[in-house]
């Protein structure tokens, strides 16, 4: 690219591109900056310039029982959804990569559909299912909704990991007398550690934020986004900015964590190799 950058015309063209990029970043970050700034604003959510910087909204927030109940609910839902999505999403990826069965194309489409489908369709179709089955709506129905919709995330991440995976290790493990169950847990899973952790993190965050599906499956207990939604309908105070700022801070930690994980991505093949050696040693 050295060649192109030295080209006069392109340099002038790239200046426009640079300006455009700056503008897009400003557009993407403006609401986030405003949100954080006004969480410290004594005078309410609007009004320029911000007045009376204060931590009062954070104090209100920390004394706000219903918000923390909903945070706890969301954490439980996200954890349970993560378990369901991984339990079914990892085998689904293995099935898609390694097995041939009738209806495979349909299966692939079905698994991936919730990823691109507007949440309202997933939410409503499950609402009808629970209605027909006579299931009472509660956090459990939300878990089932999130767990099902997010299988797609686990499957896509793990499927990508599988395609890079060298099957020789699994073959060696099987040849050396380990059964499929042992091979799965000691060779396949360790080799897929990164995609699995990545998927888990992503599923957790997406579930914590999810609102469109939860909207239809909610029972008596609120998740955090639905609690916020309820308050937005009643009138807004910077307390919402404060809770959003805290969520944002946690998301940032998750991103940094995820990014570190990705950077380390190269050195994961070793865990499986160790097991093959161990079996070999045992056999000898």
């Amino acid at each position: 690219m050295e060649l192109l950058v030295s080209d006069v015309k392109l340099v002038s063209g790239s200046r426009w591109l640079l300006l455009h990029a700056v503008a897009v970043f400003a557009f993407l970050y403006l609401p986030i900056v405003v949100l954080i700034l006004y969480s410290f604003n004594g005078e309410g959510v609007g009004g320029f310039p911000p007045h009376h910087l204060t931590l009062d909204w954070y104090r209100t927030l920390f004394a706000d029982g219903p918000i923390w109940d909903s945070v706890l609910n969301s954490l439980q839902v996200a954890l349970a959804a993560m378990v369901i999505s991984l339990t079914f999403g990892v085998p689904a990826a293995l099935a898609l990569e390694r097995a041939q069965f009738p209806g495979k194309a349909l299966f692939r489409r079905l698994v991936l559909l919730p990823l691109i489908l507007p949440g309202i369709i997933t939410g409503l179709s499950l609402l009808m299912l629970f209605n027909v089955m006579g299931t009472k709506l509660s956090l459990v129905t939300i878990v089932l909704g999130h767990g099902t919709a997010l299988i797609s995330v686990a499957t896509t991440e793990v499927f990508a990991g599988l395609q890079k995976l060298d099957r020789a290790q699994e073959e060696a493990s099987l040849d050396l007398g380990a059964n499929y169950w042992q091979t799965f847990w000691r060779v396949t899973v360790p080799n897929l550690k990164l995609p699995i952790i990545g998927a888990a993190l992503l599923i957790f965050t997406l579930s914590m934020d999810e609102i469109a599906v939860s909207f239809f499956l909610i029972g008596r207990d609120n998740t955090l986004p639905l609690e916020i939604w309820g308050r937005l309908r009643r009138g807004i105070t910077p307390e919402i900015n404060a809770v959003s700022t805290i969520i944002f801070a946690f998301s940032l930690v998750a991103i940094v964590f995820w990014y570190r994980l990705r950077m380390r991505g190269e050195s994961t093949a070793e865990a499986g190799a160790e097991f093959v050696e161990a079996v070999e040693g045992g056999a000898a």
């Binding site: 060649l3 192109l4 080209d7 015309k9 392109l10 790239s14 591109l17 640079l18 455009h20 990029a21 897009v24 970043f25 993407l28 609401p31 986030i32 405003v34 949100l35 609007g46 009004g47 079914f88 689904a92 293995l94 099935a95 097995a99 069965f101 299966f107 698994v111 559909l113 691109i116 489908l117 507007p118 949440g119 309202i120 369709i121 409503l124 179709s125 499950l126 009808m128 299912l129 027909v132 099902t148 299988i151 499929y180 965050t205 934020d209 609102i211 909207f215 986004p225 916020i228 939604w229 937005l232 807004i236 919402i240 900015n241 959003s244 969520i247 944002f248 998301s251 940032l252 998750a254």
Partner: protein, 282 residues
């Protein structure tokens, strides 16, 4: 290398789960759409086409659907206009800062959808940040009312939310273009403009299609941004569905509209997949 038992063990559980919690619900939605509601608000399991007839007959349904598609189309175009040049800049000109800038595009995706929509509400409202800023610098005397509770607010917010979605596949497509193709084009005397339009852009079309599909489909089905920022003129088709499943209590009609959306979305996906295959060079 993998035995039959292994293949069954990895296939059967997800297959069963997906059947119960995805396939059956979609089929139920299909069934519901042919049922009806009695005057005493119970669902009658008698099969008929009334809901679909009503969809075509009552103006508000298909007009709202068209308006939603128009809003989604604008969101798609704006997301591409913002996302494409950004992806191009990052891929070809950002040099060492590429990874950092890429992360910066991703970060807003991790901020809750609801929170970002809410932030726009606090910016656009009549006592909001933008209006009070304009008055503060004496550009306007009264708050601009069209900013909030309008289709404009919905398009702006959805564009903000879906620009990173449009950006990602375009960036991936641009990153996959072999750089020696670009150099070859340059060496053979093409101007930078020619290189872009004849080499780079055609090779990035699959990414553009994927990004456009994401932005269009997801904004088409949105109901929270319209509720929060749309006002009466910004109502979208999903808002009608929500009210049919809530206060208006007509699940069968709601199911019929949802099913139309589902079919529209699936056919769009299939269509864009076909196009992507046609345009991909490998």
């Amino acid at each position: 290398m993998f035995s039959r038992a292994y293949k069954t063990a990895v296939t059967l559980p997800p297959l069963l789960w997906v059947t119960v919690f995805l396939l059956v619900p979609y089929l139920l939605m299909f069934c519901y759409s042919f049922w009806s509601v009695s005057a005493s608000q119970t669902i009658l399991h008698s099969w008929n086409l009334d809901n679909y007839v009503q969809l075509l007959r009552v103006d508000v349904y298909w007009q709202t659907l068209l308006r939603s598609m128009w809003i989604a189309a604008r969101v798609t175009v704006f997301s591409l206009l913002l996302g494409y040049p950004l992806a191009y800049f990052l891929s070809f000109y950002a040099g060492k800062k590429k990874d950092l800038l890429y992360q910066l595009v991703i970060i807003p995706l991790w901020v809750s959808y609801l929170v970002r929509a809410y932030a726009w509400k606090t910016i656009l409202g009549s006592g909001g940040v933008l209006n009070t800023l304009l008055q503060y610098v004496h550009l306007t005397k009264h708050p601009l009312e069209f900013l909030l509770y309008s289709p404009f607010a919905v398009v702006l917010t959805l564009t903000h939310i879906y620009t990173p979605f449009a950006f990602l596949p375009i960036y991936a497509a641009l990153e996959h273009i072999p750089r020696n193709l670009v150099e070859a084009s340059h060496d053979l005397g093409a101007t930078p403009g020619q290189t872009f339009w004849k080499v780079i852009f055609p090779l990035s079309i699959p990414g553009v299609l994927a990004g456009a599909t994401f932005a269009f489909v997801l904004s088409l089905g949105d109901f929270l941004a319209p509720l929060l920022l749309g006002g009466p003129s910004g109502i979208m088709i999903s808002n009608i569905v929500v009210s049919l499943f809530g206060a208006a209590y007509n699940w069968p009609l709601g199911a019929a509209i949802s099913l139309c959306m589902l079919l529209l979305v699936v056919s769009l996906l299939v269509f864009s997949e076909r196009l992507e295959k046609r345009w991909s060079f490998s």
